[in-house]
């Protein structure tokens, strides 16, 4: 495979990963934290109404996990497509 087409494949794989992660990012913060907060507040975990928990705690934890998942996946992609740094 030529370098050019491999770079295209790498970029497409990257974009598809980005979309997946950004969808999770959106659902957790804007979805659970804002749009559906009232419905989720009917459920409680411990003393937290669930929607309130997402808005003030849960979204942040998810963001951290998302970034490290991305780092892990991208490092693998870099290697797989031979574009990793020395």
């Amino acid at each position: 495979m030529s370098e050019k087409t491999d770079n295209t494949a790498y970029w497409n794989a990257n974009i598809s990963l980005l979309w997946k992660l950004l969808i999770v990012w959106f659902i957790v913060s804007y979805g659970c934290g804002i749009l559906f907060v009232e419905a989720l507040n009917n459920i409680s975990i411990g003393g937290y109404p669930l929607g309130f928990w997402f808005a003030q705690q849960g979204a942040i934890y998810t963001f951290v996990v998302l970034i490290f998942f991305y780092v892990f996946k991208m490092n693998a992609l870099d290697k797989e497509h031979g574009v990793a740094e020395e």
């Binding site: 975990i45 929607g51 309130f52 951290v64 991305y70 780092v71 740094e85």
Partner: protein, 607 residues
């Protein structure tokens, strides 16, 4: 030891540390001055990014905002952390691969246009000065109260410290100072939070304590708080959209997230790591360090409002006599950030829903009322009992004091109070330094070296950078002495402007090979003009507002704080349309875009 001496000691020691680091890490090349030589470890860089970015607003104001807003405080929490996902996924690795010194430099090269670069510098300078004004106001608040000096003297001390490590050490000095400042500020933030969480719930982890049961067995903390607030005529703490509509919360969260990802002093921090891989990792670490404070803040907010209500209204809820109020109340009253007007004339303080005063307190000089309180001349005539409250609200509390006063309200040991003082100062100084540095780099590297005097030597450029930093410190000091509005509000504007101007052009520069010079410039100008215009129209910074700042007047019900999200959309839209009706960018630019998408071959930062 007495509190005041402990504060001098803690704050003094932290200053010695910062200055020592500045001397140790003095920058001698432009590479060290702009990007710390490009060799910062991702974890250290994450810490520096966290300190750079967690400003006086995060440290001093945010928990206070949450305390008075309840659920809606979540928009700050999500907004100011969610942006790091965008940074890590969409910006940091590519800008690192690009491998230059500044954000305008990327925009200038990518859009093959000096005009685009200059427009970007103007955006950057505008954003940074707006933001730094808030920081300097933070420095002023902390110093005047904590060191008990005049606000101008306090500002002068703060400016000198920042001057020393930003001008001398450049990015290298700032980076390592910020690592130290992060440690100081996170320690200062979490220690009192743990103490207070223990007091209320017996659980030391603030993140868990907020969802735990009260130590006195009165049920879950949040439910107790909801009830306590409803009893005094304030809406439930956990109930969404009490003060703001859903669309406004949505728009503000977008503006804050995208703004975070577009703030030049944050972006530039990813130029300082050795590799593309490190830039991704570094964004992750930055968010971990930020999350430590941000997941603690909701507990601090909730516990501080609970503490305040309990202390003021007393055990039986009938109020506390002014003469019986603890000393923190009187010190803050002296600084004008707390005021009491005895609406029902019983000599007791009561806190409830509604406003005690019309606007901010206006004091009758230093004259005292019959109970010894500072006389306020602007009581709210409508401060009658609200809803099912037993009495009118008599208390004015500035939100900015909640974090600083909290340890005193909770009667924590003096060293904790001193620690919080040092932390607040560290937060404000680290962000101010980061901002001053991007301003200085914008002027010396982008305007001077990149545009008006390309022939200058590295030595001359370095000198120009230091002079620019020095001038910027002075301007920042002036803005701190004459702040346009209160801390968090000013900072929200900087985010709106970053969201509507810089973020879209950087994203399009990476993800679209078709985006051209004309599109980018038009997009930036439209986004910036719209957002600034909207904010000035309703808020009237430096001018008189042209319309009352009320939801009825807002576009789609979006407040000036959230309008950056619309500005961002306008930027994207304009850029798309203009780029499609003008010529595609030259082939070498399209190759450059393809090249920055591939991590391989990222060298050190060059100019």
């Amino acid at each position: 030891m007495e509190l005041q001496y402990l504060i001098y000691l803690f704050v003094g020691l932290s200053f010695v540390l910062y200055i020592g680091i500045a001397i140790w890490s003095k920058a001698s090349t432009t590479g060290e001055f702009y990007v710390a030589g490009g060799g910062v470890h991702p974890i250290a860089n994450g810490m520096a990014t966290a300190a750079d970015w967690m400003s006086a607003a995060s440290f001093i104001s945010m928990a206070g905002l949450i305390a008075f807003m309840g659920y809606e405080g979540g928009m700050y929490l999500m907004g100011w952390t969610g942006g790091y996902v965008l940074l890590a996924l969409l910006l940091a690795p590519y800008l690192r691969k690009f491998g230059k010194f500044t954000v305008p430099e990327f925009i200038g090269d990518r859009y093959y246009s000096t005009t685009a670069r200059v427009v970007a510098v103007i955006c950057l300078i505008f954003i940074s000065f707006t933001y730094v004004a808030g920081q300097m106001r933070g420095v002023g608040i902390v110093f005047s109260r904590i060191l008990e000096v005049d606000i101008l003297v306090g500002l002068g001390i703060g400016m000198s410290i920042v001057f020393l490590y930003a001008v001398l050490g450049g990015m290298k000095g700032v980076t390592y100072t910020q690592v130290a400042q992060y440690v100081v500020l996170i320690f200062a933030y979490t220690v009192p939070a743990i103490f207070i969480a223990l007091q209320f719930t017996g659980n030391p982890l603030p993140q868990i304590a907020l969802g735990s049961e009260m130590a006195d067995g009165s049920g879950y903390l949040l439910q107790t708080l909801d009830k306590v607030l409803v009893d005094i005529g304030i809406k439930e703490y956990t109930e969404p959209f009490n003060n703001k509509s859903m669309i406004d919360v949505f728009a503000i969260t977008i503006a804050l997230m995208v703004g975070t990802a577009g703030l030049p002093h944050v972006i530039v921090r990813f130029f300082t790591v050795p590799k593309v891989r490190d830039a991704r990792m570094s964004a992750g670490w930055a968010l971990v360090f930020i999350a430590l404070l941000y997941t603690t803040a909701p507990a601090v907010g909730a516990l501080s409002i609970m503490n305040l209500v309990n202390t003021v209204n007393g055990k039986d809820g009938s109020g506390t006599e002014y003469t019986q109020m603890p000393s923190w109340f009187k010190t803050w009253e002296k600084s004008g950030l707390i005021a009491w007007y005895d609406h029902n004339g019983d000599g007791k303080l009561q806190y409830a829903g509604g406003k005690a005063l019309v606007g901010k307190p206006k004091f009758d000089g230093e004259s005292r009322g019959s109970h010894g309180e500072r006389k306020v001349v602007n009581p709210n005539p409508k401060a009658a009992p609200v809803g099912n409250a037993k009495y009118a609200n008599e208390l004015y509390v500035d939100r900015d004091i909640m974090v600083l006063a909290n340890p005193e309200i909770a009667q924590l040991p003096n060293w904790v109070i001193a620690l919080v003082a040092a932390g607040g100062i560290a937060a404000a100084l680290s962000t101010a330094a980061g901002l001053l540095l991007v301003i200085s780099a914008g002027i010396s590297h982008d305007l001077l070296k990149g545009t008006f005097a390309p022939g200058i030597s590295e030595k001359q450029e370095l000198l120009a950078g230091r002079i620019a930093a020095a001038v910027a410190v002075c301007v920042a000091g002036y803005l701190g002495a004459n702040p346009p509005a209160f801390v968090a509000q000013v900072v929200a504007f900087a985010f709106g402007l970053a969201a509507s101007s810089l973020f879209p052009v950087i994203i399009m520069g990476i993800f679209s090979t078709r985006m051209n010079r004309e599109g980018a410039i038009a997009g930036m100008l439209v986004g910036l003009t719209f957002t600034m215009g909207y904010i000035l129209y309703f808020k009237g910074i430096f001018i008189t507002p042209m319309a009352p700042n009320t939801p009825d007047n807002w576009l789609l019900g979006i407040s000036p704080e959230g309008i950056g999200s619309i500005g961002m959309l306008l930027n994207f839209g304009t850029a798309f349309v203009v780029s499609r009706i003008t010529k595609a960018p030259p082939a070498e630019i399209q190759h450059m875009v393809e090249d920055i998408r591939i991590p391989k071959g990222a060298g050190g930062a060059t100019h």
